[in-house]
């Protein structure tokens, strides 16, 4: 585990606020990201994640608040730290009419890299991302996963010490998402400070050291993953799938087992939680007494999802469906 309380964080944000007419997209955000940290910014659509990245990278102007990146004041002078940052936007935005190789060389040139260096770096990244076979194909002809990988490659072409990743695995196939997560982990191990926004909780839990939960432009909780998981670590949970509807079943079970909490997880699933051991036998019998049949009973590992739901009260299923799935 890295140092959490860095006295001189690489990114420091204080009371950052951004309004678009009547809507407050970012509402008084304050946080810090330490050197070499992989920091997660987790929240549903419309939480202000992309706006925050736009503000930090100079694509948007804050209404108030302070942004310091590597000691440079960036709220008023966004160009001050742009040479230190790489940005991977939520949508692949490279040039459709250029080949993958030419796109990378062009992005390298934007950061002042000389021709020989940018050509070498472009070839190196195409190989790392497994795109060498498509180097000469136009970007417009790439698949979604390939586009995403090349967009990440473009974001790191100039070897930035700070990388902003906006929903990097949204809307792509499982294999590509897994590969991208591995690449993010590798970049982190190599010392890159990463600011990652996502609405995939498992992804954030797997990759990040610290996470901020963001809802409606505000941070509702910020801590290390270990600390966030602490309250649910002692809890035991089980998911029971029954034939037929669980309507009324939860109330019956709650009356019979007051030491457990029961919650309808879906139309045919009951979630059982307790701080004690949950024995499945008596529960199965009680369900059968009510005319139901247990199809499956599965122990659940305490996860960040539980913490997120507990803190924000947000419906996770709805959040996962927001951007069309993929990624997990």
């Amino acid at each position: 585990m890295r140092i959490i309380n860095d006295p001189d964080p690489l990114i420091r944000v204080e009371e950052l606020t951004k309004r678009y007419k009547e809507v407050t997209a970012v509402d008084g955000l304050s946080f810090a990201v330490n050197h070499g940290e992989l920091f997660g910014f987790l929240g549903p659509n419309g939480a202000g994640k992309t706006t925050t990245i736009s503000l930090l990278t100079g694509l948007a102007r804050p209404d108030s608040g302070a942004i310091r990146i590597a000691g440079r004041e960036c709220a008023k002078n966004p160009k001050a730290a742009q040479h230190l940052i790489g940005v991977v936007p939520d949508e692949s935005n490279l040039y459709p009419e250029l080949s993958g190789y030419d796109n990378l060389c062009f992005c390298a040139a934007l950061y002042g890299m000389r021709q020989a260096e940018r050509q070498m770096r472009a070839r190196e990244l195409l190989e790392v991302f497994g795109l060498e076979g498509a180097a000469d194909r136009k970007f417009a002809g790439y698949s979604k996963g390939m586009k995403r990988k090349l967009t990440i490659a473009a974001g790191i072409i100039h070897r930035p010490p700070i990388l902003f990743l906006d929903e990097p695995t949204t809307g792509i196939d499982v294999a590509s998402a897994r590969q991208i997560r591995q690449l993010i982990a590798d970049l982190h191990r190599a010392g890159t400070t990463i600011f990652l926004t996502t609405h995939y909780i498992e992804e954030a839990e797997r990759l990040c050291e610290r996470i901020a939960f963001v809802v409606q432009g505000r941070i509702v909780e910020i801590d290390s993953v270990v600390n966030l998981l602490q309250p649910v670590r002692q809890r035991r949970a089980m998911l029971i799938t029954v034939s037929g509807s669980v309507e009324g079943l939860c109330n019956h079970l709650a009356g019979a087992y007051p030491q457990f909490t029961f919650q309808a997880a879906s139309a045919d699933q009951v979630r059982v939680e307790s701080s004690d051991t949950i024995s499945i036998g008596p529960l199965v019998r009680s369900i059968e007494d009510q005319g139901g049949e247990v199809i499956e009973a599965r122990r659940l590992r305490p996860s960040l999802e539980d913490v997120f739901v507990r803190i924000t009260g947000i419906d996770l299923d709805a959040m996962k469906k927001e951007k069309g799935g993929g990624g997990q």
Binding site: T57, G58, A60, R61, K79, Q82, L94, C107, Y111, A154
Partner: protein
């Protein structure tokens, strides 16, 4: 960091990706030829009219070539968010916009020489004062390109860029002294003619090609440079105000 590497790369990328595409090259060739032919036939004076028509045709070729391409490409890049890549690059906004417009300026200068090359085969160009014509062509290309930039920054859709371009371009054909003198315009339209940059560019071209102009060349150059600066500064402010919100 060498910011000029970024500058040249943006310019060469645009030239390669947009301006050297066959449809655009053919637009640069066909359009001036079509306009020359139209006014050539209308004049009814045979080959004698070629030199008289040349300043207007050169100016219109530059105007249409630069404004249509720049307004559309910038709006397209803004729309698909690839323009954000440029805004994220660690180079000053002014240098970025100069790089973005330099390809269009070159395309405009190329367009200007298409009618001049054609005229070479039809009339005697030995009396042309090239030292007057060349800066005029360059300044008309710069002013037209910056007008295209102003249009691009003012709209959000590609089709709006086309429509808004025509809002400026077509009145200019008739108001700026391209094919008939400003003195022939109704009195109430003349002030409008002097509010348009192309009027001064055409006047310098007329001086260089025909040896006659309304205003002294030095004054025309200064006014045209003023238009270029004003359009560029207003466009930069608009980029700052509208695109980095």
């Amino acid at each position: 960091m060498n910011q000029w590497i970024a500058f040249w790369s943006i310019m060469f990328k645009d030239v390669r990706a947009y301006y050297l595409k066959p449809p655009n090259v053919s637009w640069g060739l066909i359009f001036p030829v079509a306009w020359t032919g139209m006014f050539f036939i209308r004049s009814g004076r045979g080959l004698d009219s070629v030199l008289d028509l040349l300043p207007g045709v050169v100016a219109i070729s530059v105007l249409f070539g630069t404004t249509s391409m720049l307004a559309v490409t910038v709006t397209f890049e803004k729309k698909n968010r690839s323009f954000d890549r440029l805004l994220l690059a660690p180079i000053p906004l002014s240098l970025l916009m100069l790089a973005k417009t330099s390809g269009a300026i070159l395309f405009g200068v190329f367009n200007a020489f298409v009618p001049i090359l054609l005229a070479q085969f039809l009339t005697d160009l030995s009396r042309i004062a090239w030292m007057t014509v060349l800066p005029a062509v360059l300044l008309v290309a710069i002013a037209s390109t910056f007008l295209g930039l102003f249009i691009a920054v003012s709209v959000s859709e590609v089709f709006e860029a086309q429509t808004f371009s025509n809002f400026f371009r077509f009145p200019m054909i008739f108001l700026c002294g391209l094919f008939f003198p400003i003195s022939a315009l109704p009195a109430f339209l003349r002030p409008l003619a002097f509010a348009l940059p192309l009027t001064y560019g055409v006047d310098i071209l007329r001086q260089g090609i025909l040896g006659q102009s309304m205003l002294p060349t030095g004054l025309n150059l200064m006014i045209l440079i003023g238009f270029c600066l004003a359009l560029f500064i207003v466009s930069l402010r608009n980029v700052h105000r509208k695109w980095i919100v």
